[in-house]
């Protein structure tokens, strides 16, 4: 604590004769209070209320059936087939989104780490998808997949991927790939930016030394680039996984969770339950379940990281 070490007290403050206690313990809260009050009132308080909702029956369409019901919502959740489908879909959606975002983002970062003509303009243009509002990305991709006005079904049919140009968003087997592609399009810039920053922090001498020693490009990549990027990759992938698992906008706009729940992930299930059915109790129950899953994931990852760092 600075207050106990008079050395760091600055001259201006002693002249102003303010008590050190006031200076160091109270003053920061003067700057912080609006932020704390808002976060407390708009996020933390509703969060606690939300957890309490999961033990109640709150359906706006049945106002007289409301009240505390203990774990009934959780019992329902356990036997809710839609919940388990959504869980599976969440894994599929998150895994493929993050895999493609990461691989393409890494490729882009490595390209941007070299020299070529028009690099500044190129960078601004390839990062543009990130600036596109998510609802608009979703609509744009939904339109691209629509055979009436979009070219993609026709191209896929011409390449033999589809038997005829139809909308994959209406096909339960393929529908999830629509939002995933939109998500990859939207998320590559983020990975590219973070990985580019990490790439630029690798000392250039290492590459020079590798070249002197006659290392092949592949060796340089696996022996220098990847090990240096590893910590950054780990933290970015972890944060991004949580973010993508929660990300409902794209799917909600593109497919609304359909057809036949084939694109329903947990977060869209929360939203549709709250928004369409106005069943707040059950929506909060799914939300608590999602929170628990994410927590378990984070704990496992942190534990793994600790283990790996030791070695």
């Amino acid at each position: 604590m600075i207050a106990r070490t008079p050395k760091t007290v600055r001259p201006g403050e002693t002249r102003a004769r303010r008590s050190l206690y006031l200076q160091y313990m109270i003053e920061p809260f003067f700057y912080l209070s609006p932020a704390i009050v808002l976060i407390g009132a708009v996020i933390m308080f509703p969060l606690i209320i939300g957890i309490s909702y999961s033990f109640q029956s709150i359906e706006l369409l049945k106002p007289f059936a409301s009240g505390w019901i203990g774990f009934e919502n959780y019992v329902d959740l356990w036997s809710d087939r839609k919940f388990w489908i959504a869980m599976e879909n969440t894994l599929f959606w998150t895994f493929w989104s993050i895999t493609f975002q990461f691989l393409l983002g890494l490729g882009l970062a490595m390209l941007l780490n070299t020299h070529f003509f028009g690099k500044k303009l190129f960078q601004a243009l390839v990062f543009l998808p990130w600036a596109v509002p998510t609802f608009l990305s979703a609509l744009t991709w939904a339109w691209l997949f629509n055979p009436v006005i979009g070219p993609l079904p026709h191209w896929m049919a011409a390449l033999g991927i589809l038997s005829e140009p139809y909308n994959i968003l209406g096909d339960p087997d393929l529908a999830m790939w629509g939002p995933i592609i939109a998500n990859v399009w939207f998320g590559v810039p983020f990975f590219a930016i973070t990985l580019l920053a990490a790439l630029q922090s690798i000392p250039g001498e290492l590459y020079e030394a590798a070249e002197v020693d006659g290392a092949s490009p592949w060796q340089t990549f696996t022996k220098i680039t990847l090990p240096f990027l590893a910590p950054m990759i780990a933290i970015t992938v972890m944060l991004r996984t949580i973010w993508i698992a929660n990300f409902a906008d794209l799917i909600f706009v593109m497919t609304g969770g359909g057809p036949a729940n084939s694109t329903q992930i947990l977060s869209t299930y929360i939203f549709t339950t709250a928004f369409r059915k106005l069943d707040f109790g059950y929506a909060s129950t799914i939300a608590v379940a999602l929170l628990v899953i994410l927590l378990i994931y984070a704990i496992i990852l942190l534990w793994l990281r600790k283990k790996l760092v030791k070695i």
Binding site: I49, G50, P129, F135, W143, G204, V253, S284, L290, L294
Partner: protein
């Protein structure tokens, strides 16, 4: 920087092919949006998959602007996004300053709490927020959206502002205070001008985030005259799902403010994330 001087020709070709791939992948969807928006209605189906329309029109844009409610949606979105951006930046600057310049009791707990808000699904609180807003009688008001968006964006904006304040030497304020300025005067006269780029970047981030938020707006707004752009466009889509040209014209219009802000913050984007990355 690593001496890439004499590379094999196939390597060079491969590199430019990769560059082209990324460029097309990033821009094609946006190009298509624009293409349909400027295609005359009569040609939309007959030239559905042609890369260039044989005729071009701006009719869709004028229809959208003058004959639909989009101008009102646009205004609502602008009010909400600017309001949220202003208040978030103001409060986040205060909080970021406190984190950057003070060591105090409870600092770690507050930082941890802010990090937690970045982790858990915000959708979790959509039901409670709806009930609270409804009980306050603020459904269908832009104020409720501004308050909600401000709170959601404060944590990230705070960390961003903190990194900008960390980049300004503390000695500058100390010198000003030694010369008799109060801390507030030192802030206003010395720190504020130096933080302008940071403030601008934060404004831009929050503006774009608020501009594209859909789900909470969908929940809290149901009256047509209070709809923000995303909500308006989505109801437009479900109501008149045949008028492709107009929808895409509206989409192009929605893109403009975000792109303007993006061009503005692009520089700080890399800088901000880089400084964050270096610190770990």
């Amino acid at each position: 920087m690593s001496a890439v001087k004499k590379r094999h020709p196939t390597f060079v070709v491969g590199k430019y092919a990769a560059l082209a791939f990324y460029l097309i992948f990033a821009l094609f969807p946006l190009y298509w949006l624009l293409k349909i928006a400027i295609t005359p209605d009569a040609l939309i189906y007959s030239e559905g998959t042609r890369l260039f329309p044989s005729e071009v029109t701006l009719l869709n844009f004028t229809t959208v602007v003058f004959q639909t409610d989009f101008l009102a949606y646009f205004r609502n979105s602008l009010v909400v996004s600017l309001g949220a951006a202003f208040f978030t930046t103001l409060f986040a600057a205060g909080a970021g300053y406190a984190f950057s310049r003070f060591v105090f009791k409870g600092k770690r707990i507050i930082i941890a709490l802010m990090l937690v808000t970045q982790m858990f699904p915000l959708l979790m609180i959509i039901a409670p927020i709806y009930k609270i807003v409804a009980e306050l009688g603020l459904l269908n008001s832009l104020t409720s959206l501004i308050v909600v968006y401000t709170a959601f964006n404060i944590p990230f904006a705070t960390f961003l502002m903190q990194s900008f304040f960390d980049g300004i030497p503390k000695d500058l304020e100390d010198a000003a205070m030694m010369d008799g300025c109060s801390r507030f005067q030192a802030l206003r006269k010395v720190v504020f001008p130096l933080t302008l780029p940071g403030l601008g970047a934060t404004l831009g981030f929050v503006f774009t985030a608020a501009w594209s938020e859909l789900l909470f707006a969908l929940m809290l707004i149901s009256k047509n005259d209070a709809m923000t752009f995303p909500v308006g466009l989505l109801t437009f889509v479900s109501k008149f799902s045949v008028d492709w040209g107009q929808m895409m014209a509206a989409g192009v219009l929605a893109l403009i403010p975000s792109c303007l802000f993006f061009i503005f913050i692009q520089r700080y984007l890399v800088q901000g994330l880089t400084s964050g990355a270096v610190k770990g």
